[in-house]
């Protein structure tokens, strides 16, 4: 218990709090950037993955939770129900960063694909039982297709996630890798998770 508490104190303190808030805001703003340049992706976890890498898994989980909370309160309530998915993303990318997957692009991409599969597993029950498989995302037609070929509602939600999430997360991981290579070392060295970069 004391160990968990000290882990929490290490990742969520006066130095990291503004970084977590920045990561949450980045998740929201990247969504806007993607709309501006009309990309067929969500990329709404870049802030979560970045903070999980440069601070730690707990900070990543908090970043995702606060981003979805803010999105839910100000834009679309549906985001609030997907907070458990952001927790999975934050935890997984934080632990992945510790083994150095963000040091090379060719380790970042497959880890992103795996992250996508985990996200699809985590989001399927929420999409199926909370929203009946429909989330008003651009991939709803896939749910329609899988239902048409006889899959159950949870299978359809999972397969829809599987079709969209791995690519989305692999691109997100790659973007985080490029961000880390382009941010000056003088800034990176001040971050708690510098060793992960």
């Amino acid at each position: 218990m004391a160990e968990a508490s000290s882990w929490f104190e290490k990742e969520v303190n006066a130095t990291t709090i503004p970084l977590i808030a920045f990561g949450a805001a980045l998740n929201i703003v990247v969504g806007q950037a993607v709309q501006l340049i009309k990309l067929p992706l969500y990329l709404d976890s870049i802030g979560t993955i970045l903070i999980a890498c440069v601070v730690g898994p707990l900070a990543g989980m908090l970043t995702g939770a606060f981003a979805n909370l803010t999105l839910g309160l100000f834009f679309n309530y549906a985001f609030i129900f997907f907070i458990p998915v952001t927790l999975v993303i934050g935890a997984f990318s934080g632990f992945a960063a510790r083994i150095g997957v963000f040091r090379r692009w060719y380790t970042a991409i497959p880890t992103g694909l795996l992250q996508g599969v985990l996200s699809a597993i985590a989001s399927a029950p929420i999409a199926a039982f909370m929203f009946g498989g429909v989330t008003m995302g651009g991939t709803d037609f896939l749910v329609l297709y899988f239902r048409a070929i006889g899959k159950s509602i949870i299978q359809s939600a999972f397969l829809q996630g599987l079709a969209a999430d791995p690519v989305d997360k692999a691109v997100s991981y790659l973007i985080v890798y490029f961000l880390l290579t382009r941010i000056p070392r003088s800034i990176l060295i001040r971050l708690p998770g510098y060793a992960n970069t």
Binding site: E9, V12, N13, A14, T15, T16, I17, P18, L19, I20, A21, F22, A24, A25, L26, I28, V29, V30, A33, V34, L36, I37, K38, L39, P40, L43, I46, L50, V54, L62, F66, A67, L69, T70, L73, N76, Y77, A78, F129, M130, F131, G132, G133, V134, T135, M136, D140, V143, L144, R147, A148, I153, F178, L179, R182, I183, P184, I187, R190, L191
Partner: protein, 251 residues
């Protein structure tokens, strides 16, 4: 001359207990009872001054979701044909499932919208701080909300600058994807540096990592009684909601 302070509106915890209970009811009750709660909620919210705010969001985001849900589940579920429009047959099991999901969504969204239309985030933060909540969470939430607006403005400026340098959104996906990094790198770089400086300032200002001391706001006695009653009734209602939910799922 100092101006007199405006009377402080005290947050009544009954607000969030009622909202939470309705969210629980959305899962605990059967469809008939969900509809009863929904009818009560709609009749309360329709006569509230915040109705425009509540139902604008509902019509924009939730109604299309519900309609598509009826369409997908009505057509692709198995079961008896309830009705058909031309060659398209709607199954009763699918329509029932879509009705449960629609009622659940409507209950949750209207309850949460009503709650947040009446209570400002700062008021909740103030209340949570007065109850001894962890200040770090309150600060992260308020700072992220503030940062979203600042970063959006900055992103718009970067986008305008990139457009002037030839950013073309009519090109193919891969060409457009190349524009993402030149937009994100300056944005991330400046805000990471700023966040680190902000962290230093917080440390220098001796920002406590511990919970804030529970220092209730000084309020008139009547309001304290109302608040305490609200707290008690709220907890009671919530407990009943939890009990019903557990009973439903155990059964």
């Amino acid at each position: 001359m100092p101006t007199p302070e405006a009377p402080r509106r005290v947050y009544n915890p009954l607000n969030h207990y009622v909202a939470l209970t309705i969210v629980l009811a959305a899962f605990a009750f059967k469809l008939e009872w969900q509809l009863v709660v929904l009818a009560a909620l709609v009749s309360v919210t329709l006569f509230s001054p915040e109705r425009k705010k509540i139902y604008r969001g509902f019509l924009k985001f939730v109604l299309p979701l519900i309609l598509i849900g009826f369409l997908i589940n009505g057509i692709f579920f198995t079961g008896n044909v309830a009705f058909s429009i031309g060659p398209v047959k709607f199954r009763d099991q699918g329509l029932l499932f879509a009705s449960v999901v629609a009622t659940r969504l409507a209950l949750i969204v209207i309850a949460i919208s009503y709650y947040f239309s009446r209570v400002k985030p700062e008021t909740i933060s103030e209340y949570l701080a007065s109850r001894g909540a962890d200040r770090r969470f309150i600060y992260i939430y308020l700072l992220s909300v503030a940062m979203v607006h600042l970063m959006r403005d900055k992103l718009q400026k970067i986008y305008t600058a990139q457009s002037a340098r030839g950013l073309d959104t009519t090109k193919n996906v891969f060409a457009r994807a190349k524009y993402l990094l030149p937009m994100l790198v300056p944005l991330s770089y400046s805000y990471i540096a700023e966040s680190l400086d902000r962290g230093l300032a917080l440390r220098a200002a001796n920002f406590s990592d511990k919970k804030s001391p529970a220092t209730p706001i000084v309020v008139p006695l009547v309001e304290i009684i109302v608040n305490r009653k609200g707290l008690f009734i709220g907890r009671l209602v919530l407990l009943a909601g939890v009990a019903v939910t557990i009973a439903r799922f155990v059964k």
